[in-house]
C-alpha cells in the first residue's frame, strides 16, 4: 500500500511538472510573436500615415510613401493566386482521390516535398531563366507571379491532400452507394467538407507570397519605380524588396530607418488583414457544411 501511494504521488507530480513545462514553452512561442509585433510597431507606427500608404516615394525613398510597393505586392499576390490555387488544389485532389497507392503516388509526393525544400532564391533564378529570359516575359508581374506561384504550390498541394485524407471514407462510400460518380462525390460531398481546411493552406501560401523577397528579386521587383503598373508585363515595386533596398542601400540611415520599419509594419498589417479575411471565409464555409 505504501509504495502504491508513493507511486500515485509521483504520477501526479510528474503530470503537473510536464504540463507546466509545456505551458511555459507555449507561452514562450506566443511571447516571441508578440515581441516581434511590438518591436516593429513601436518603431514603425510614427511613420505610418495616410500619406505613407498613398503617396509615391520621394527623395531617395526617404520621403513620401510606399504606395507603388503596396500595389505591387497586391498584384503579385493576386497573380500568384490565379496561377497557383487552381493548379495546387487540382493536383491535391488528383493525388488523393484518383491515384492509387503505388510508385507514382509516392514519386509525386516525394517531388512535392522536395519542391517545398528548395531555397526560395533558387526559385528566383529559375524564374529568371524560364519566365524572364526563355519565355521572354522580361522583368514583369507575370514572371514574378508565376515564380511565386511555383514557390507556394507544394504548400497548397500538401494541405489540399491532407484535408482530403482526413475525411472519413464512410462519406465516400455512402455517396457511391447512392449511385454518385467519383466526380459527383468529390464535388458534392468531399470538397465541401474539406474546403475550410484547404483554405488554411491557401492562407499560409498567401502569407508566404506577400513576404518573399528572393523569388521576385530577378523576376519583377523594381528598385525604384514611382508609378503604377499598366499591365501584366510591367515591373513593380514590392514591399519585401523595398524593405530590403531601404535597409541596405541607403546612405542616410537616420532618414531611411523609420521608413523601413514603417514598410515592415504595413507588410505585417497586410498579411494580418489577409489572414483575417481568409479566416472569415473559412468560418463561412465551415458553417455552410453542417457538421453539427
Amino acid at each position: 500500500m505504501k509504495s502504491s501511494e508513493k507511486y500515485n504521488k509521483n504520477k501526479k507530480r510528474n503530470q503537473i511538472l510536464v504540463f507546466s513545462l509545456f505551458r511555459v514553452l507555449n507561452i514562450a512561442v506566443i511571447a516571441i510573436l508578440i515581441l516581434i509585433l511590438f518591436f516593429i510597431f513601436i518603431r514603425g507606427y510614427k511613420t505610418l500615415s495616410w500619406e505613407f500608404i498613398t503617396a509615391m516615394p520621394e527623395e531617395g525613398m526617404t520621403k513620401g510613401g510606399i504606395y507603388p510597393a503596396i500595389i505591387g505586392t497586391l498584384c503579385l499576390i493576386g497573380g500568384s493566386i490565379i496561377f497557383a490555387f487552381p493548379l495546387g488544389i487540382f493536383s491535391g485532389i488528383y493525388i488523393n482521390e484518383y491515384t492509387k497507392n503505388n510508385w507514382f503516388k509516392r514519386f509525386v509526393s516525394m517531388m512535392t516535398n522536395n519542391l517545398a525544400g528548395i531555397p526560395s532564391i533558387v526559385f528566383g533564378l529559375f524564374g529568371m531563366a524560364l519566365f524572364v529570359n526563355t519565355l521572354g516575359f522580361g522583368d514583369s508581374i507575370i514572371a514574378g507571379s508565376l515564380t511565386l506561384g511555383i514557390l507556394t504550390l507544394p504548400v497548397i498541394i500538401k494541405t489540399t491532400e491532407e484535408a482530403l485524407k482526413s475525411i472519413d471514407d464512410s462519406f465516400r462510400l455512402g455517396s457511391y452507394a447512392l449511385g454518385a460518380t467519383k466526380l459527383q462525390t468529390i464535388r458534392k460531398v468531399i470538397l465541401p467538407i474539406a474546403f475550410p481546411n484547404i483554405i488554411t493552406g491557401l492562407i499560409l501560401s498567401v502569407g508566404r507570397v506577400s513576404g518573399e523577397t528572393a523569388p521576385i528579386l530577378f523576376t519583377v521587383a523594381a528598385y525604384f519605380l514611382p508609378k503604377l503598373p499598366s499591365g501584366i508585363f510591367d515591373q513593380v515595386m514590392a514591399l519585401p524588396y523595398h524593405l530590403y533596398v531601404i535597409s541596405t542601400s541607403g546612405t542616410n540611415i537616420t532618414e531611411s530607418r523609420p521608413v523601413a520599419y514603417g514598410t515592415a509594419l504595413v507588410l505585417i498589417i497586410m498579411i494580418l488583414i489577409i489572414n483575417l479575411l481568409a479566416n472569415g471565409l473559412r468560418m463561412f464555409f465551415k458553417n455552410k457544411v453542417k457538421m453539427n
Binding site: 455517396s175 457511391y176 447512392l178 449511385g179 454518385a180
Partner: protein, 250 residues
C-alpha cells in the same frame, strides 16, 4: 426466378482468398441474414452485390452474380445504375454533413433529378417509409448530425430508399445502436420486406432469428450452410453452424 443468383464466387484481396466458391440463391421480397464470425467474408460477399469491392485496390473477383437475371459484372454494366438498383446501409450511420432534407435528396440530385416538387415528395415518401418522418418533419433544414444515432441510421435507410432500389444491403445496421433504436430498425426491416429484397449482415444471432426468412452461415470465406432461418437455428446440418449459433466459437 431468383432475385439474386451468385455462382462460384471467388474473391481475392491480392493473394489472400477472402471468398471461396460461394453459391447462393436469394428470393425476391425476403430477408436473408448473413452470419458468421468476424473475417468470415460475409461483409465482403455483401459488397460484391453492389460492386463496392471494386473500390478497393488489388481486388479480383471470379464467378457470376446475377440480379434479375443480369450479370452485374459484365463489362457493359454501369456501376452507377447498379448501385441505384442495389441500395446499401452501412454499419456506422454515415449521413452527409448536410441538412436532413438534402441527405435524402442527395441520391436523386446526383441522378439528375432536380424538379423541386418531385424531390420534396420523394424525400417525404422515403422518410415516411423509414419511419422517421414524424420525428424530423419540422426540422428538415437542420443538420443531419443533430439526430440521434438511431435516427441517423434510419435517415441513411431513407436516403437509400429515395433512389428506389429493389435490393437493400445492410452491413450490421444496428450494431452501434441501443436496444430501442435496434428494435425500430428491425421493425423497419420487417416492413420493408414487402417491397424490397433485403440482405443483412449481423453479428447478433437473435436479430438474425427475428428479422430474417433465410440465413446463410459463412466461415473462413466459405458458405457453410444456407436455408430457412428456423431450420438453420433449430436443426443445423453442419457441426460448424451448430457450434457458432450456440456460441461455442465466434
Amino acid at each position: 426466378m431468383y432475385k439474386i443468383e451468385t455462382t462460384n464466387i471467388n474473391l481475392f484481396y491480392g493473394n489472400f482468398q477472402a471468398l471461396t466458391d460461394i453459391n447462393l440463391l436469394i428470393k425476391e421480397n425476403t430477408v436473408t441474414a448473413l452470419i458468421g464470425p468476424s473475417g468470415c467474408g460475409k461483409s465482403t460477399y455483401l459488397r460484391t452485390l453492389n460492386r463496392m469491392n471494386d473500390l478497393i485496390d488489388d481486388v479480383r473477383i471470379e464467378g457470376k452474380v446475377l440480379i434479375d437475371g443480369k450479370d452485374i459484372y459484365e463489362k457493359k454494366v454501369d456501376v452507377v445504375e447498379l448501385r441505384k438498383q442495389v441500395g446499401m446501409v452501412f454499419q456506422k450511420a454515415n449521413p452527409f454533413p448536410k441538412s436532413i432534407f438534402e441527405n435524402v435528396a442527395f441520391g436523386l440530385r446526383v441522378n439528375g433529378i432536380n424538379d423541386q416538387k418531385y424531390v420534396a415528395e420523394e424525400v417525404e415518401r422515403s422518410l415516411r417509409r423509414a419511419a422517421l418522418w414524424d420525428e424530423v418533419k419540422d426540422k428538415l433544414k437542420k443538420s443531419a448530425f443533430e439526430l440521434s444515432g438511431g435516427q441517423q441510421q434510419r435517415l441513411c435507410i431513407a436516403r437509400a430508399l429515395a433512389i428506389k432500389p429493389s435490393v437493400i444491403l445492410m452491413d450490421e445496421p444496428a450494431s452501434a445502436l441501443d436496444p430501442i433504436s435496434t428494435a425500430k430498425i428491425e421493425e423497419l426491416i420487417y416492413d420493408l420486406k414487402k417491397n424490397y429484397t433485403i440482405i443483412i449482415v449481423t453479428h447478433n444471432m437473435q436479430q438474425a432469428a427475428r428479422v430474417s426468412d433465410n440465413t446463410a452461415f459463412f466461415y473462413l470465406g466459405k458458405l457453410i450452410e444456407h436455408g430457412v432461418t428456423k431450420e438453420i437455428f433449430l436443426n443445423p446440418v453442419k457441426e460448424a453452424t451448430q457450434n457458432y449459433i450456440t456460441g461455442r466459437f465466434g
